[in-house]
């Protein structure tokens, strides 16, 4: 009973933390998917007096492609209503039009930076960023992602405190054994082997439980969220990498907490 109680005291905060992490991973996946979808439709239009030189990066975002809009086509569209001399004049005066495609979707802040950066190029006359089109939903998604990340951070902190408390209890329970082994020249790490085994066992159990919970959520996602939002969810939600991340975190957090306490005891 005592063993079960201490096992639950350790695994419960770990599972809650891993579950929060799973939610964060799902939201990140949704945001990434949305970003990927909208970036294909999104371009910044630039009007210049002279042909535009190549641009590699804008506000730290790599430029994927710069597409020049054909001036002849624009003239062709309007030339029926114009005289030859007017067309000739138009040919001379018509500015150059470019569509700049980026590698990732910029936030409003970055868009403003991009605008300012483009404005420093002397031959640019006008910039159209279409900032309002996608930004509302994108900003909302980023907000949700950030809130979940902050929540995850808080849960992580609380979990580490609870994990360290339970590890301290285990150290106290194994104190006799640890001191006897150290009296015979065994290192603190060696003398703590039984505690390490319990920690690794609990971590493994927690990662399996959390992965199972994530799997259940993914399988039943249509029941959990509203149909309107379903369009944002990637059609194929492959979770292998996410499960690996959960496993890694389930081992990493207890190990780091344990090592931190070990260093503390060693210094004492």
């Amino acid at each position: 009973m005592k063993l079960l109680k201490s096992f639950i005291s350790f695994t419960f905060p770990l599972v809650v933390m891993l579950f929060m992490f799973s939610i964060y991973l799902i939201v990140t996946k949704v945001v990434d998917n949305y970003k990927e979808n909208i970036i294909n439709d999104y371009a910044i239009v630039v009007i210049t007096n002279t042909p535009l030189l190549s641009i590699d990066k804008l506000a730290g975002i790599k430029v994927k492609d710069i597409e020049s809009l054909s001036r002849d086509r624009i003239i062709k569209n309007v030339q029926q209503n114009l005289s030859d001399s007017s067309v000739e004049l138009l040919q001379k005066k018509l500015p150059y039009f470019y569509k700049i495609y980026l590698e990732e979707f910029p936030t409003s802040l970055k868009l403003e930076k991009i605008r300012k950066q483009l404005m420093t190029i002397s031959n640019i006359k006008k910039i159209e960023t279409f900032s309002n089109d996608h930004n509302k939903l994108y900003s909302l998604l980023i907000l949700v992602q950030n809130i979940i990340f902050i929540l995850f951070g808080a849960v992580l902190l609380l979990s580490v405190l609870l994990l360290s408390k339970q590890i301290k209890i285990w150290f106290f329970e194994h104190n006799d054994r640890i001191s006897i082994i150290q009296l015979h020249g065994g290192s603190l790490l060696y003398s703590s082997l039984p505690i390490i085994k319990i920690i690794l066992g609990s971590a493994l159990f927690s990662s399996i439980l959390s992965s199972a919970m994530l799997f259940v959520i993914i399988s039943n996602i249509h029941m959990i969220i509203q149909p309107e939002i379903m369009t944002l969810i990637p059609t194929v939600l492959s979770m292998e990498m996410e499960i690996f991340k959960i496993f890694l975190l389930s081992i990493l957090i207890p190990s780091v907490t344990f090592l931190g306490l070990l260093v503390k005891y060693k210094l004492q």
Partner: protein, 220 residues
Amino acid sequence: MILAKNLTLSYDNKKNIIENANFLIKEKEFIFISGSSGSGKSTMLKSLYGGLAVKKGNLFVNKHDLVKKSYSKLLSLRKDLGIVFQDYKLIQEYTIEENIMLPLKVHNYADDVSKAQVKKLLKHVKLSHKVGAYPAELSGGEQQRVAVARALAHNPSIILADEPTGNLDDYSSDMIWTLLKNANEHLGITIVVVTHRIPIDMGIKYRRFNIEEGVVYEAS
């Protein structure tokens, strides 16, 4: 070899328990440290295995400088020692075999070598029939014999014993003295025993240090 020069010991820098002690214990010697209760005998022994920091002076145990000791050096010193306590300090969750095997595991001996050594030692301390038993199933005398077997397991150069017969009847005490005497005589292990009850007839050559009010002197 154990060398103390102007050794001063205290707990938390309060009153000195041992003051300016000077002594040399050579290899293969049998040493008794005696004195009245609270005189500092156990404190002295504790300092020899690094359980208490040296306040002043110098202390060398097997060329380990205990003044300049680091955590890793402390562990390496303890690997050279065998320690026997009045309260046995056996791990209750381990069997007798596992308890004796502990120093061998710390020294990374192979399993078959360790098992053979444990078998030999259990025969030596007349406890072969208790190999799978747990400490709680043994009498005090038997537990102390296990503790002596554990101290001998890795062939240490020094055995430190703190009141090894303090909790035992005469019969068990005699057995423990015989085991320690044999370890000194036949294996050449230096033995340092803290006791307030030196056996009348040890049958071997030994030296005795007495501690009175923190002063260590060799008694004749």
